[in-house]
């Protein structure tokens, strides 16, 4: 009997040793959950380009399986859990709507690390990460004020959530820093993704007299309309220059790759900690597409602003700033706190719209 136990223990030790050495040679799994298809031309595609950059950078150490078109809701929890069970060391869930599902699965798998994009719920093994898109929008606003002949820009907005309102305000602030009289017209498409509706919104804005367009929706349809009508526009999430070679001034390009590499390395060397990260232009989590279709002095101004934001010299939300009704929001020199920005539910002065409640 004793012999048998010793034999079993030895076998177990040998097997365990094998398993140990095998997993040491095995590549670590860094997994991704996408809400859309990886070729959507916008949000998800930007994340997938980040994943490819990660795979390339750490090719000998990791593999990067992903699940695409995972609907937000109960299915998401199942998909994330499946990933966690399959032995992922780190799972990126790349849509706001995956928040609660990620929290639940993270609680079940304490040894797996999770990172959720654009959310606000964290845990011991769950980080959040986001990008300061508003920095790019501020630069766009400055360019718009220089390039617009009529002093009115059109903004195609999706839903009245803080992220979008913050973008509208940042754009208007940038524009007003150049032309204090600059006006911004906003159309709510009430969709993230509908090429037809986005095009209709673009046409409506142009028919109402704006001569520069910017968008916070996902497809290149507004850029295409702007190109047809011969006005200028800004791209969103990805470089949209192909849809408007003579139209795009610049675009906010989501570049998650550097972030993914940094955080994955932290998992590999064991230094990963749960954090709430909100990176900006200086961290390279967003970049500006080349400044095109504008004179050199405007380009120089944009580059200067970009450099100032990167160095921390300029924070777009620095007072004095009044709210839309003229009441004071920030005193001269006062900077907006991140918490206020992330919950932004009011317009600043100069936005020509009433915020839908």
């Amino acid at each position: 009997m004793k012999k048998l136990i010793i034999a079993l223990a030895a076998t177990a030790a040998v097997l365990g040793g094998f398993a140990g050495s095998a997993s040491a040679q095995e590549k670590k799994k860094i997994c991704f959950i996408y809400v859309g298809s990886k070729t959507d031309g916008g949000w998800t595609q930007a994340h997938d380009i980040g994943r490819q950059a990660l795979q390339k950078a750490l090719d000998d150490k990791i593999e990067t399986p992903f699940l695409e078109s995972v609907p937000e809701g109960p299915d998401a929890e199942r998909a994330i859990e499946r990933m966690a069970r399959s032995g992922c060391a780190l799972i990126y869930t790349t849509s706001f709507g995956f928040m609660d599902a990620t929290v639940k699965v993270a609680a079940k798998f304490p040894n797996v690390k999770f990172e959720h994009a654009t959310g606000f719920k964290a845990a011991e093994n769950l980080s959040t990460y986001n990008s300061r898109f508003y920095e790019g929008r501020y630069i766009q606003g400055q360019i718009a004020a220089k390039m617009s002949k009529k002093g009115v820009a059109g903004y195609i907005a999706s839903f009245p959530i803080p992220e979008v309102v913050m973008g509208i305000n940042a754009f208007e602030l940038g524009a007003k820093s150049v032309n204090p009289e600059f006006k911004l017209k906003v159309v709510w498409a009430n969709t993230w993704f509908d090429p037809g509706k986005e095009a209709d919104a673009a046409k409506a804005l142009i028919d109402q007299g704006v001569d520069i367009l910017t968008q916070h929706t996902d497809t290149t349809a507004p850029m295409q309309v702007a190109a047809e009508r011969g006005i200028l526009a800004f791209g969103q999430a990805s470089d949209m220059i192909a849809a408007g070679p003579k139209t795009q001034l610049t675009a906010i390009v989501d570049t998650w790759g550097a972030y993914y590499i940094k955080r994955t390395k932290a998992v590999l060397d064991g230094s990963w900690k749960s954090e709430q990260i909100w990176d900006g232009l200086k961290d390279g989590i967003l970049t500006m597409a080349p400044y095109t279709n504008m004179p050199d002095d405007v380009k120089a101004m944009a580059e200067e602003t970009e450099a100032k934001i990167k160095s921390g010299e300029l924070h777009p939300f620095t007072g004095p700033i009044n709210k839309q009704d003229g009441s004071e929001w920030l005193k001269a020199g006062e900077k907006a706190e991140d918490g206020v920005l992330l919950g932004m539910n009011f317009y600043i002065e100069g936005v020509d719209d009433k915020l839908p409640k």
Binding site: S37, T39, K185, V186, D207, Q208
Partner: protein, 308 residues
């Protein structure tokens, strides 16, 4: 500006009208095909791919029609030959279409599209205002107008249309009279698929000349609803489609005008307006219960197995 708005309305309404007309014919023969969205997106990807590969938007239109048509035959085979449940098969067709088109279109994502150019009809287009709006349009718009009147004539004035409506009302009786129920229904399903494909081609060649996955964004479902609320009458489908398009565009301008006037109207309410307005108006038009009953194909969605 008014002219520019009207042109936008026409562009937005045309795909709804075409897809709804196709479904109207299918349903008049007694077949309920819930796969309009799937056939439409297959038409859109086929049209875009054909136009890209050949460089011709007109071949693109043909590609869209064939793409939607072939895809509808799959539905026909399952529901008419194998007598599968029409509702379930239609839903499956939509899901399959959305997935398959994404796969087929992957290579075309982000490519600048080939735009279908308008055909300016001489003389007529010189009429002030309406001439420019109605007679400087693209081929698909002219086809949509031809379809409305062609289908009206076919359904209510031709012998073949009478037979088809008879099948839709009572396939058993029609079969007893020696009408080939299954063959007629195959043709009706094929026609519906071809129209949905043409509507899809309008999206990827005229409305927004590019390929984006899932670009139909629910228009197939709106077309389906239009057929029912228009009580299976082609002219009402036309009216409903244009009303939906007009209110949809109008609410965008209303948002901007309200802004300039300093009025706060919730944009969510405005975006619901096209649905509400279209349903209300079409219900008022079709309020007569007796004529609505007469128009409703009585054997809609019921399986037919010919007795031997």
């Amino acid at each position: 500006m008014f002219e520019a708005i009207l042109l936008t309305v026409i562009t937005a309404s045309t795909p709804l009208v075409i897809a709804a007309l196709g479904e109207l014919v299918t349903e008049r023969s007694g077949v309920l095909n819930l796969g309009v969205e799937g056939m439409m997106i297959m038409g859109a990807v086929a049209a875009f791919a054909t136009a890209q590969l050949t460089g011709s938007a007109y071949l693109g239109i043909l590609g869209g029609i064939i793409g939607g048509g072939i895809f509808s035959l799959l539905f026909g085979f399952l529901t008419l030959t194998l007598v599968a449940n029409q509702v379930a098969t239609g839903l499956a067709l939509t899901i399959l279409g959305l997935g398959l088109s994404g796969q087929l279109g992957e290579a075309f994502v982000g490519m600048p599209g080939v735009r279908l150019q308008p055909i300016v009809i001489p003389l007529l287009s010189d009429i002030p205002f309406f001439g420019r709006v109605l007679f400087s349009q693209d081929l698909i718009f002219y086809m949509s107008v031809a379809l409305v009147f062609g289908i009206s004539w076919f359904l209510f004035k031709s012998r073949a249309g009478l037979k088809m409506r008879a099948i839709g009302d009572s396939h058993g009786s029609a079969h007893a009279l020696g009408i080939n129920v299954v063959r007629t229904r195959y043709l009706a399903v094929l026609f519906g698929g071809a129209c949905a494909g043409l509507a899809g081609a309008q999206l990827s060649l005229v409305y927004t000349p590019q390929w984006v996955e899932n670009m139909t964004a629910g228009r197939g479902w709106i077309a389906l609803a239009l057929v029912v609320f228009a009580s299976w009458r082609p002219l009402r489908v036309l009216a409903g489609g244009y009303l939906f398009g007009a209110v949809g565009i109008g609410q965008l301008h209303a948002q901007l005008l309200a802004q300039s006037g300093g009025i706060a109207i919730p944009s969510q309410l405005l975006s619901a307006l096209p649905y509400v307005a279209t349903i209300v108006v079409l219900i008022i038009i079709s309020h007569n219960r007796r004529t609505t009953l007469i128009n409703t194909p009585a054997s809609l969605g019921k399986p037919f197995v010919p007795d031997r």
